[in-house]
Each structure stands twice: as structure tokens, then as C-alpha cells.
């Protein structure tokens, strides 16, 4: 029988008795009802399931639950501070960087990790770093623009 373990997500502690071999993605979605993190491919190829683990973008679909106990997990639900959107979230809205928006959570989480690591980002650098995220609706140029904008905003407020 699986034991109960604690997960640190968005500053809160969650308890789950899911199998340590289970993917973090399905624990988030099925057990904890944090459905903002999306399933797209199950093999770490599309980025829809991206979350931050200790601040770094990780594919939750190929991350074992057993590997993330004691680590700080941030999902899309934990990004805004109250009503105040994260600059990356705001920039996606401002640039209209979505259509169906199913990829948006993963795009934003990957982008947050990117802008946190580096302030000055060229469009080419952003494209390269985002290569693992798929937007089937094809809004890539808008996403690049949004990330550049967010990076600028964050740099100015530093």
C-alpha cells in the first residue's frame, strides 16, 4: 500500500497517497485537482505540462512523484500574487499570445524560468529556449514578443 507523502506546491503543503512511480502531472491533475497544468504528449515533447521545480522548468509528465518530495513545485495556479498577474502572464494577455490557449500554461512556466535566469533576451535566444514547447495554433511570434516584453518589464522593476 502506498504511503502518504507531502508535496510543496505553490507555497502550500499537499498530502497524497499516490504511487511514487506515478507522474507528477497526473498527481497534480487527478489527485490534487490542479488542472492548469496540461497533458499534451506524455513524453516530454510538447511542454504543455511544464511546472517549476525549485525554480527550474521541468516536464511534469515525465517527472516521477517520488523524485519531487521536499522540492518546491510551482504550477500556473501559483504564479499570480493575489489579483496581481506575473509579468509573463500579463505580457501574454497584452500581446494576445494565444488562440485556444491549451499550451499557454506550459509556455508561461517555461518562459518564467527563462526570464528569471536571464534578463537580456534576444528573439533568437527565446526561440531556442522555447523549442520544446508546441503551440499547434501557431502563435509563436506573439509568444516571443510576450516573453521579450515580460523580460523588459521585469528588468525595469528590478
Amino acid at each position: 500500500m502506498a504511503t502518504t507523502r507531502q508535496l510543496h506546491i505553490n507555497g502550500l503543503v499537499y498530502a497524497t497517497d499516490a504511487d511514487p512511480e506515478a507522474s507528477l502531472l497526473f498527481v497534480l491533475r487527478d489527485h490534487l485537482d490542479l488542472t492548469g497544468t496540461k497533458y499534451g504528449c506524455g513524453e516530454g515533447q510538447c511542454g504543455a505540462c511544464t511546472v517549476l521545480i525549485d525554480g527550474k522548468a521541468r516536464r511534469s509528465c515525465i517527472t516521477r512523484l517520488g523524485d519531487v518530495a521536499q522540492k518546491q513545485i510551482t504550477t500556473i495556479e501559483g504564479l499570480a500574487k493575489g489579483d496581481q498577474l506575473h509579468p509573463v502572464q500579463q505580457a501574454f494577455l497584452d500581446e494576445g499570445a494565444m488562440q485556444c490557449a491549451y499550451c499557454t500554461s506550459g509556455m508561461i512556466m517555461t518562459a518564467v524560468s527563462l526570464v528569471n535566469a536571464k534578463a537580456d533576451l534576444t528573439a533568437a535566444e527565446i526561440s531556442r529556449s522555447m523549442e520544446g514547447n508546441v503551440c499547434r495554433c501557431g502563435t509563436y511570434t506573439r509568444i516571443v514578443a510576450a516573453i521579450q516584453k515580460a523580460a523588459r518589464v521585469m528588468q525595469e522593476s528590478r
Partner: protein, 721 residues
């Protein structure tokens, strides 16, 4: 009358060109409305024109029944909230926004007060589905008319209340104001305590596009915040108390039948329910992970049939016509003048064969549905472009009347024509019936690749006769299987023979964004390029010589100007090309610049420019977004997307094997919007795809002298020695 059921099994052609009327039209009781809407006024609009019925639909509602041919309805509640109801569905086209703009515009109320209820078979009027770029030309107009009528009624109510001439009254910002006495009253106050129903008497005057204040502007996605915070619940995110997660056992190949089955191991797992009903075998469990584990323990043997594989595909399609093609297919056939005479009199003749592979929609959200039974009534939340069609599928699968089935469509993670069907709805409902609890079925990516359907593959034979001066005199075009959308040429050609030949399909096929228009434009516009070279003419000049349509000429000319058509190459690897056309009411021309590394075979699309005209523009930013997105999506099918299959199995059905356009594939994208406020608005979700493949193919020819006649063009690059 043709309905979708008249087509041979497996063939789902041009759905959006079908007019499939509802099988039943139930009485609508006006009292029912106010029960769930609350007091206020309700304005009902009746389909006209193409959907018009003979049965005097213009008559105002009398008694308790509303007309049956309802297109949309709109309710203004006592708190001033305006709710518009439409059977259309939101999958990322941003029609929730554009339709809200339409209501806001005509009702003179702030867009924040407008709420759209969409794609719910209980609450919204019947709708054939969200496809064929029909939302903007039909539903946008319909809602504008309803909203305009509502405003008119409110003005009348205020005039009666104040006993003044209605011409003194004006509606603005959710209020009626009397210019004489300066008094004003809010819509909310006017409708208080009322239960008033109005049916649209006739076409109502609309605000011309030149005077639009809300429509025509770049209003942001209405509920965008819910999407950037992860709050929005897609079909796959739905949850009910006690819900189980379902998985279905798949055969090893298409058409395989079950011969033996052992499920005892699965049944031993805690909380697992196994359902076996004919060839359907599925499990429901407290979590996806337990359901997967349970499924893996099931032992089954299947009987498979040998099937056609990739390499035999095109030959097979040509040799296997569907006998007795229906009237719908032949409706696209076209004959003018005499091909034989044209051939005899021409100076140049050219004949070629082009091919197009099956490709996958690959919506980022795979199919998902959650089903719940309550007694004999079934409710399903699912991502579909045809909520009413899925209701019919469910009613048929469970042999129950449609009025006991309700299908709801939460805004969905895209479809691109790939979500017309209700597979997961049926699977979830079947599992839920046995489980006696709600069940959600959410396909894996591999399931989506194998058990959904594909854009049809096809073979196109084309031949043409031309005079020395570049005048095309004969045009013969035969499309085998890929479809009839966009099959007719818009060039002025005296002698034509155009035929669509449906074939027995190898893979399950169906609608796809722009569907066959992509294949037909690819061939037509590539071949125009071939002819231009034969005539030793510039491809643009050659097109314009054979083209009269002003709107299309304007698109080509505007695009060419902005692109800088005709400028010299700056390197040997560079190539320029164009492709354009007319599709779903859109006139467009796409221009491509490519770079080919002849040694490594590496192909890059450097720049893609599309000049686009779709009548009066409803939302410029969202239109731009659609055109850019359509261009990017079309690049996948143009350059590298193709389904590989062998003996009834998909061989590349996962993202690590099936290449999709990614960030690094995206060229510099430019969109030239040509606004025509004097023309009705057309939909724009599909037209932007059709110019991309020929523009790139023609640019690759320009760069290398190699003519590519199969989609995808360069799945393995393009090495030129």
C-alpha cells in the same frame, strides 16, 4: 435530401459543405426559458436564406410556442446582464470575443455586460457545427440582428413608459436617453419584472461597418485572464464528485476484431470496474494511473486483416473509386467549353500528377469527455465542434431519444476540423453507465494519433493547354479522394473539366482546417508556376494575365508590393514564390522566401507574407492572429508532416516521431490586411492556410530548379547536386 448518413462508411467528405438539417425539431416552450433565464426580455431570431424554412418562420410567436427554426437567442436580465445563446463552439478562433463584440455593438452596451452561452444542446439553439468558416458570416450577422432588434424593443419600451415619440430617444452605454428631457433609464430597469418574448419580424437595419465602434476593433480575448492563470477548465479538466477515470482497450490494428479476452486481473485491482460489451472493452478507476495499470493487465487476442501501407497508397486511391458517388460529389464537377478543342488549338501542353499525404490535426488537447447518467438522462461534457452531432451519436449508440441527452462544450484546446466526432463521449458514457458514477475519458497522444481521423490523402492529375502569349485555354483537373473544397479554378479559362473522384480511403478521414482546399490550391498554384515558366513569363504577370476577379487581383498585387516581388536574389540559396486564391469567402495571396543549403539539404522558410481580404474586418488583431497561425500550421503540412502507416497501424503516432512546426521553424511573418467595410464579413480561420504550400513549393523551385509535386515537400530536406 442528402444527409451525412448517405456517405459510405469511413468517408467523411467535406462535412462543412453538407446541409444536414436537424432530424427533429422539438417544440420550444417560452415559459421554460424564463424558468432558467429569469425574468427579462428574450429575443429570438429565426434562420433565413440558406436555412430558411417554408413554414412561415417570419410570423411572430403566438401563444406559448416559439418558432422551431431558431438561429440564436438573446436575453436581457433584470440585472442588465445580456446573455446571447449560440450553438457555435470556441476552440481558439476567438469567436466568443467576436460574437460578444457583435452583441455589444448593436445593443449599445459595454462588452463586459455581454455573456455568451455556447455549444450546449440544452441551452442553445440547434447548430450544425463550428466548421467551414461559417461563424462570422452567419452567426455574427444573426447575433447583430438579434441585438439590434433588442435595442429597438428597449427604445419602444422607454417611449411607452415616458409617453414620448421614440425618435427622441437614443440608446447608448446600456441606457435609453431622452434628448428632450435629458432623463434616462437603464436597460435593467426597463426589463424589470417583465417576461417578454419577441421574435424577429424581418431583417433589421444594422450598423454599417464604417460606423462600428466595438466591432472592427481589436478587443482582447474576453476571458483571457482565465487562460493565463490556469483557471479555465477545458473538457479534459472537468471533474465531478465521485468521478472515475476511464481507459479503453485498443485493437493492435484498424478493424481488428476481438477473439479472446481475460480481464480477471484488472477486476482484482481496488476500485476498478471493467466493461466488456461486444468489441468494446474498457476500465474505470479512481485515477488515470490505476486505470492504465488495470488496462495493462488485460489479456486479449485480436484477429487482424492485412491492410494497405504508405507505399501503395496513391496507386490504391486511384484504383479504388467509390462506386456510385453521391450527388454531393458530382455537384463539384464542372465542365465548360470543349477540352478537346482547346488541346487541338493550343501551342503548349503540360500534364502532371501531384500527391498529398494523410496528415494529423494533432490538437494539443487530445479528445476528452466526461459523462454522467442521472436515471435515463445522460449529460456529457466534451470537446467537439458538433455538440448537436455528438448528441445524435450518443442517442444512436445508446438507443435513446435525443431529448434525454445533453452535450456541453467547454471552450476546447483546439480542433482544426479534427473534433467533429464523439468517440470519447460514447466511451465515457458507456463506462459511466456500468460504473453508475461519472466517468472521464481523456485520450493519450498515441490514441489521438491512431483513433481520431486524418486529413484525406489524394492524387491530383492536372493538364493544361496554353497559347504562346500565356493565355490558358484548357484546364483539366481530377482530384482523387482528397476532396472538393477549392477545386474550381478562379482563373478565366474558356475550356474546363474539373472532377472530384471519391476513393475508398485507407485510413479514417474527415474534415481538416481548409481541408481539400489546401491540396487543390497547392496543385493549381504550383501548376500555374509551371505554366508561367513554360510561357517564359513572370509568375505574377502570368497570373494577372489570366485573372479577372478584382478582389483576388488586389490581394496578389498588394502582397507583391509589400513583399518586394521581382527584386533580385542576394544569394544562390535564395528562392521566392507565391500562391493565392479564393477560399471560404477569403481572397488571399501568400509570398514565400526560402533558403536552401544545397549540400546539407537544409531548407528554411525565411519569410512568409500573406495579403488577406475577408470583407469588413471584425477584430483586426484576432484576424492577424488567425492568419499568422494558419500560415504556421500550413507550413507543417507543406514541409514535413505526413502520417506513416503499415498494415493497419500508425507508425509515427507520437510527438517524438511526428514533426510539428516549432519555434525554430517560424519565419518572419507578415500580414497585409485589406479591409473592405463595404463587403460582408467572411470567416478567416481557414483561408490563410491555402497559399502556403504552393508559395513554398514555388520558392523552392526558384531556389533550386527542382519541382516538388508531393505534400509534404521536403520531409528529409532537399539535397541538390
Amino acid at each position: 435530401m442528402s444527409t451525412e448518413r448517405d456517405f459510405p462508411a469511413g468517408l467523411e467528405p467535406e462535412r462543412y459543405e453538407l446541409t444536414a438539417p436537424p432530424r427533429y425539431r422539438f417544440e420550444v416552450d417560452r415559459r421554460e426559458f424564463f424558468k432558467f433565464l429569469g425574468a427579462g426580455i428574450l429575443i429570438v431570431s429565426v434562420w433565413k436564406g440558406a436555412h430558411g424554412q417554408e413554414s412561415g418562420s417570419d410570423k411572430a410567436a403566438r401563444g406559448e410556442s416559439l418558432p422551431k427554426e431558431i438561429g440564436a437567442w438573446l436575453h436581457i436580465g433584470e440585472d442588465g446582464t445580456v446573455t446571447a445563446y449560440t450553438g457555435k463552439a470556441e476552440l481558439g478562433q476567438n469567436i466568443r470575443t467576436s460574437l460578444s463584440q457583435a452583441v455589444s455593438e448593436e445593443l449599445h452596451v459595454h462588452i463586459d455586460r455581454v455573456r455568451m452561452v455556447m455549444g450546449d444542446t440544452k441551452l442553445t439553439p440547434y447548430d450544425r457545427g463550428t466548421f467551414g468558416s461559417r461563424t462570422t458570416p452567419e452567426m455574427n450577422l444573426r447575433l447583430r440582428q438579434v441585438a439590434s432588434a433588442a435595442r429597438d424593443i428597449l427604445v419602444g419600451m422607454a417611449a411607452t413608459q415616458w409617453q414620448v415619440d421614440r425618435n427622441r430617444l437614443a440608446a447608448a452605454d446600456g441606457k435609453i436617453t431622452d434628448s428632450g428631457s435629458k432623463r434616462s433609464v437603464e436597460y435593467a430597469a426597463l426589463v424589470k419584472g417583465k417576461e417578454l418574448t419577441e421574435t424577429l419580424p424581418a431583417e433589421d437595419p444594422l450598423t454599417p461597418a464604417t460606423q462600428w465602434s466595438v466591432a472592427g476593433r481589436s478587443v482582447p480575448k474576453v476571458d483571457g485572464r482565465d487562460f493565463v492563470t490556469g483557471k479555465h477548465r477545458y473538457p479534459s479538466d472537468q471533474k465531478l464528485d465521485g468521478m472515475l477515470h476511464g481507459k479503453v482497450l485498443r485493437p493492435p490494428s484498424f478493424g481488428a476484431t476481438l477473439s479472446t479476452l481475460a480481464t480477471s486481473e484488472a477486476e482484482k485491482l481496488p476500485g476498478v470496474i471493467v466493461v466488456h460489451d461486444g468489441d468494446f472493452v474498457g476500465v474505470a478507476a479512481p485515477s488515470t494511473e490505476i486505470a492504465s495499470r488495470a488496462l495493462a493487465t488485460i489479456r486479449a487476442e485480436w484477429k487482424s486483416q492485412p491492410q494497405i501501407s504508405n507505399k501503395e497508397l496513391f496507386e490504391y486511391l486511384k484504383k479504388n473509386p467509390v462506386a456510385g458517388a453521391g450527388p454531393l460529389e458530382s455537384a463539384f464537377n464542372y465542365e465548360a467549353g470543349s477540352i478537346e478543342k482547346a488541346v487541338a488549338s493550343a501551342d503548349h501542353h503540360l500534364q502532371q500528377t501531384y500527391t498529398v499525404n494523410y496528415i494529423a490535426h494533432a490538437p494539443l488537447e487530445p479528445r476528452a469527455a466526461m459523462a454522467e447518467w442521472s436515471g435515463d438522462n445522460l449529460t456529457v461534457w466534451t470537446g467537439t465542434q458538433r455538440p448537436f452531432g455528438v448528441r445524435t451519436e450518443l442517442a444512436e449508440a445508446f438507443r435513446m431519444p435525443e431529448d434525454r441527452v445533453r452535450v456541453l462544450m467547454p471552450d476546447t484546446g483546439s480542433g482544426y476540423g479534427g473534433k467533429h466526432t464523439g468517440e470519447t463521449a460514447i466511451e465515457a458514457a458507456r463506462l459511466a453507465r456500468t460504473a453508475k458514477r461519472p466517468v472521464k475519458v481523456f485520450w493519450t497522444r498515441e490514441e489521438e494519433f491512431s483513433w481520431a481521423y486524418f486529413r484525406p490523402a489524394g492524387v491530383i492529375d492536372i493538364s493544361s493547354a496554353m497559347r504562346k502569349d500565356g493565355t490558358i485555354v484548357g484546364w483539366e483537373f481530377h482530384n482523387y479522394n482528397s476532396g472538393a473544397a477549392g477545386i474550381r479554378t478562379f482563373y478565366e479559362i474558356e475550356n474546363q473539366r474539373i472532377q472530384y473522384h471519391p476513393s475508398r480511403t485507407v485510413l479514417r478521414q474527415g474534415s481538416y482546417r481548409a481541408l481539400a482546399a489546401t491540396a487543390n490550391h497547392f496543385v493549381r498554384e504550383s501548376f500555374m508556376d509551371e505554366l508561367a515558366h513554360l510561357a517564359k513569363m513572370d509568375p505574377l504577370e502570368f497570373r494577372l494575365k489570366n485573372l479577372k476577379n478584382d478582389r483576388l487581383r488586389t490581394a496578389f498585387e498588394a502582397g507583391a508590393k509589400k513583399f518586394g516581388w521581382g527584386r533580385a536574389k542576394t544569394s544562390e540559396s535564395q528562392g521566392f514564390g507565391m500562391g493565392g486564391g479564393f477560399e471560404k469567402g477569403d481572397n488571399l495571396a501568400t509570398f514565400a522566401e526560402v533558403a536552401v543549403d544545397r549540400k546539407s539539404g537544409d531548407v528554411r522558410v525565411v519569410r512568409l507574407l500573406t495579403a488577406f481580404e475577408c470583407g469588413a474586418i471584425v477584430n483586426p488583431d484576432h484576424l492577424r492572429n488567425q492568419v499568422e497561425g494558419g500560415n504556421v500550421m500550413a507550413m507543417g503540412g507543406a514541409l514535413f508532416e505526413a502520417i506513416e502507416f503499415q498494415n493497419g497501424q500508425i507508425m509515427n503516432g507520437r510527438f517524438s516521431d511526428y514533426r510539428l512546426p516549432r519555434f525554430s521553424d517560424v519565419p518572419v511573418l507578415e500580414t497585409v490586411l485589406l479591409d473592405r467595410p463595404d463587403l460582408p464579413s467572411a470567416g478567416a480561420g481557414e483561408g490563410s492556410l491555402v497559399g502556403v504550400a504552393p508559395a513554398i513549393a514555388n520558392a523552392l523551385f526558384d531556389a533550386t530548379g527542382v519541382r516538388l509535386r508531393s505534400l509534404p515537400l521536403v520531409p528529409n530536406g532537399l539535397k541538390v547536386s
